[in-house]
Structure formats: C-alpha cells, structure tokens
Subunit: 343 residues, 2 copies
C-alpha cells in the first residue's frame, strides 16, 4: 500500500513510474492493469503509473534512475536477491519497509539488513535510504499534505532523492541519523498498540467513543512511549532528537489515528486475548507483534550488558506480556517516568 501510494507524488512530479508487485501482489497488479484501481487502497490510481508483474521485473528496471522498495520487513532479504541484478552505485534505493532485526548480537535497522543481504561487492558501495515520518498510505494516495523524512548515510543521495520526489503536498526532509529515524519507524508500531489498549478497555466498560472517554489513559501511555522510544533509540545508536520530531512523536501520533495497529491494540484492551484478536484482524500484517518479538529476543542481552536497567521500560515489558504471553492489560502507571532524563 505504501509503495503504491508513493507512486502518486512521483507521477505528479512528472516521473515515469513502474510499479512492480511481488508474487503476493499479482491480484493488485492485475487490477491496476485492468482499470487502475488499487483494491487495498480502494482508490483509482493515476493511469500514468505502469503496473508490472514480478515476472516483468527486468523490463521494469530498464533505464530506472532509482529503486523504491515497498516490501514488508519479512520480505527484505528476499527482495535483496530479487533486485541484485539491477543494483548499481549510481541508482539510489529508497525503502518504505519498517522493522528491526536482531541477529543475536545487535539490533539492526532495515536499510542495513538490505545492504548486508546484497552481495559483498555491492554492500561495500550501496547505502540504501528509507522513508520515515507520519504517513498513512491512503492519505498520501489522496494527496493529503504529508511531511516525511528521507534517511540514509549519504547526504548527497538524500538531497538527490528529495529533489526528485519532494514538492507540492509531499514535503520531504532529510536526516543522516538512519539508526534513530528507522528505529522510531519500527518502534512506533509496537507503542501504538499499547496506546490503543485504552480504547478497548473503555469500550469493554461500556463506554462510547467521544471527548470524555479514556484519553487521559491514552495520553499518559503516549508520553511514556516517547520516553521509552528515546531510550531505545539511544541504545540502538541513534539520536534521541529524532524522537522529538516527525520520525517519533509525529509518526506515533498518526499511527494512533489510523490503521491496523490501533485496531489490534483495542481488541487486546477489550480482553479478547491474543489468539482471538489476531483472528479478528483477518490476516492483516501485525508489525507490532514482529517488533515486540525482536525486542523480546534482544532484551536479555541488552540487560546483561548493562545497556538497559531493570524497570526502565515498563510499558514495553507490559506490552510484551499482553501481546506475546496473553497477560491481561493492567497498565503499570506507577512505574512510568514523567519525562525524559536523556538530555
């Protein structure tokens, strides 16, 4: 959905845009080829966007100036293999995938996962960039004013991508803090789930949505999420400043206002349990579970190394208990930290 949406500002800037589906997207490509309707975005996309099946990848890559990669985090390694024949130092890669990876030693962000999944001779010279910041795909595809951050290790490449893609309603900023910006993009999905517990508890107690609901609860969790995101970003080697802006507070805010992570958190807050909550999501990708799983595997080593102290991440640990171990929601407010201690 995000990859397809990003095609809209691209064609609006006058680029020739070729949208290639993975083997999971054949239905979408077929629909786009027949009448330009994207079935998941429920929208007719500009007819200038040229859809390609995966089998047509080589044609799509002919003469391409840049590669934009919109696979899910689970597909990053696969996509590295798929695009390897077309990767060139002068052809920038921009990713919209969100996630974290843990190899048993350290946490990595997806641009680095992609980089090291490429053959060694390419890894040496290719530094994939990524898009972060608050962007609901369905709104971008409808040309809602949107601010995003392109992050990568090479400022000149970021400037080039910004000059190509940014403009009009699509406001592009750049940052070389790949670790901080990309960690935010991943973590916000986990934390948005925890914020949504409030809506589920409220509904379970018979409350209706409205301006008097459980917003005090939500806002306290939102604040704690930001405090913990700063800690985790620092831990991963990023800048806590990236949390204070579009990648952190901005993206967490938008994630609470739309989409599947919030719906899933609400179901857990209603007390439906993990299995039933997943069932009701009807196969939607649940990045939050993936991120929580990665962090659960990483935390013991981080604690052993003294990078995280016991009790520093009470919200994260509670979300893990609820979403991975099926514990009931019982927010540990008293263990919260009222404000950052990082600066």
């Amino acid at each position: 959905m995000m990859g397809s949406s990003l095609c809209v500002p691209l064609v609006d800037r006058g680029h020739e845009v070729r949208l290639v589906g993975t083997h999971l997207d054949a239905d979408i490509i077929q629909s786009l080829k027949s009448d330009h309707v994207h079935p998941k975005l429920k929208l007719e996309l500009p007819s200038a966007i040229q859809p390609f099946y995966l089998e047509e990848l080589a044609d799509a890559m002919t003469g391409a100036d840049a590669i934009l990669l919109g696979v899910s985090s689970a597909g990053v390694a696969w996509s590295a293999t798929a695009i390897t024949p077309y990767v060139r130092p002068e052809r920038p890669i921009l990713m919209v995938s969100k996630g974290l990876s843990y190899d048993g030693r350290e946490l990595s962000v997806l641009p680095d996962v992609l980089r090291y999944a490429l053959p060694a001779e390419l890894s040496a010279s290719i530094f994939p960039a990524a898009v972060a910041g608050p962007c609901i795909a369905g709104e971008l595809a409808r040309r809602v004013e949107t601010c995003v951050v392109f992050t990568g290790r090479r400022q000149l490449e970021l400037d080039r991508l910004k000059a190509w893609i940014g403009g009009g309603y699509y406001h592009v900023f750049t940052s070389t803090d790949v670790l901080g910006v990309e960690a935010c993009a991943a973590l916000k999905n986990a934390y948005a789930m925890g914020i949504a517990f409030a809506a589920g508890l409220h509904e379970k107690a018979g409350g209706a949505p409205g301006s008097i609901a459980s917003h005090n609860y939500e806002a306290a969790v939102f604040a704690q999420a930001i405090v913990e995101m700063q800690l985790l970003v620092k831990l991963i080697g990023g800048s806590p400043n990236s949390v204070v802006g579009l990648p952190g507070v901005g993206d967490l805010n938008v994630t609470c206002n739309g989409g599947r992570t919030g719906r899933f958190g609400r179901l857990l807050g209603m007390g439906l349990g993990v299995e039933e909550s997943i069932r009701r999501m009807e196969g939607a990708t649940l990045e939050c579970l993936e991120i929580l799983g990665v962090l659960r595997r990483a935390l013991p080593a981080l604690k052993a190394a003294g990078a995280v102290r016991e009790g520093q991440l009470p919200l994260l640990e509670h979300m893990m208990a609820v979403a991975l171990d099926d514990a009931p929601v019982a927010m540990p407010f008293a263990a919260f930290q009222p404000m950052s201690r990082l600066s």
Copy 2:
C-alpha cells in the same frame, strides 16, 4: 471544572474537601449544594465534597491543610488578594490554572505570577506548586486512570502533596522544573489549536472523520509543535526534557482529543474567520488566544535579544496570523524542522 474534578481523588483518599466557587461560579455552587450535580461537568459529584459560596471563604479555610486553586489565568491576581488572609508557609498551594504572563521584560509562569501577587512578606517564603500533564477534567471526575505532574520549587512540598493526593487511579509524579512544566501546560493550548486546523480543512473539503482523513497533516503539525515547544521552553528557562513526557507530548496529545481548543481550531480551519469562530464557541474560555496574545507581545523583544531567530517558530507565527490577524490557514510545511536540534 478542573478544580471540581480534582476534588474527586481528594475525597476518594479520605480528605475533607471544601470546594469554594468564585463570584462567577455561584450557579455551580448552588447546584452542588442542592443535589451535588456539577452543571458543567454534567455529573453528580461525591456528596462528601462540601460546596461553599465565595462569601463563605473564611469558613472554608478554617483548619485547611492545603489550598488548591482552580481559577482561570485571568483570575490569578484576583485570587492572590482573595486568599492572602489564609496563606501560611506551612499550608501548600497547588494551582491548576494554565497560562503565561509577559510583563514587558520576561515571560512568567502562573505559580510565579501568584507568588509575586501576594504581599511581599509572603512572596519571600511561599512557592506555589502547580498540576500539569494530560488530564481532561471530565475524565478525572469519572475516575479514568490519569497521570499528572506536580511541579514546584520545593521537592519536600511536592512529595507531601503527592502523598496526600496521589493514589488509586490518580498517578502523581513530581518535577522541580516549574518553568518547563508550566510553559508546556500553557503552550499546548496554542499548539492544539493549530493541529485542529487539519480537521477543519478536511471538513470544509467535504471529508468525513475517519481513519483516512487529514491525519498526515495533523501529525506533521503535532511534531512541529513539539519541536517549537522545546525551543520556547528553553527560552523561558525550563528544561526541554519536560516536553518529552507527560507535560509536553502527553498533554498536547490529550488536548487534541477533547475539548474546546480543538473545536476552535477546527472552526478556524473551516475558514469561518476569527469573529465567527469565537461566536460559535458560545463564551467558552479560549486559552489559546490568550497564550498567542502573550507570545505576540513577547516575541519582538525575544528576537531583538537574539533568543529567537527569524524562521525558528514558523508554526507559532502562522497560528498568530490565523487566530489574531484573521489570515487564512496555509500551513508553512516547507519551513518546518523535521526534528529537534536541542540536545
């Protein structure tokens, strides 16, 4: 409303609570005396709360352990005179008023305004504390889990107030960063207005509320608000860390989810103009206009002193243009800053 709501956790903790109305609150006190219903909260309050008319203030103060002050920012100077006979060094004062004041030289927070409005012999030894953080009054009165920050210059007094008032669903944290925490409490009202422009623009364009709306726009403004709040907090002499937690991101989040500031911003976003928007608010206190007015008076001197550079506060300046000068909403996204540069 907030003063009355705060009586609920107080009686739940077993305190004897005497709620005194100002001369503007006689109707509320009368209603509470007759059937315990608070007409603005639209709720029956616990019968243990004892309502008093202003004329009964002396009786209400007899033997009081602490004074909680819930007047609006415009009433702080008046209330200083009213409570002077009852102020004692061993009787802490806790304020729920939100606002900033500018005396032509510097910006002050309300606990300091109250302090210096007291007679000099009291100013020397009285350091009023204040409540900040995300709290919708109507939710607190309904015992929704709520996290707040008590801020003041004396940690021991904050600890005492926390021990008296906190507990159960009312989670109290403390901070001695009065300038930072109180600046957040004031500024969030102005910035919540700007975030709500998005909903008004969306509605004006024929859009319905939903998960595909103008959330990308809202979230970008939310992020910029936090970046600018950090700058302003630092300018006032507070800690930018207070923005990263309950007083800043938490309170801004909750203010966007309920209440009059958001409704007013939405009306401005719909293009109704200042006069008509104020009319439709039917006399509700609009803290946002007050804060923007104070900042407009203060900014030229701050710029002249080099404390603020041209272009550092594009969102604030746009909100002033819209809400004080009746300019149309045209968000200056390109002038935004993608993340904090403070740490």
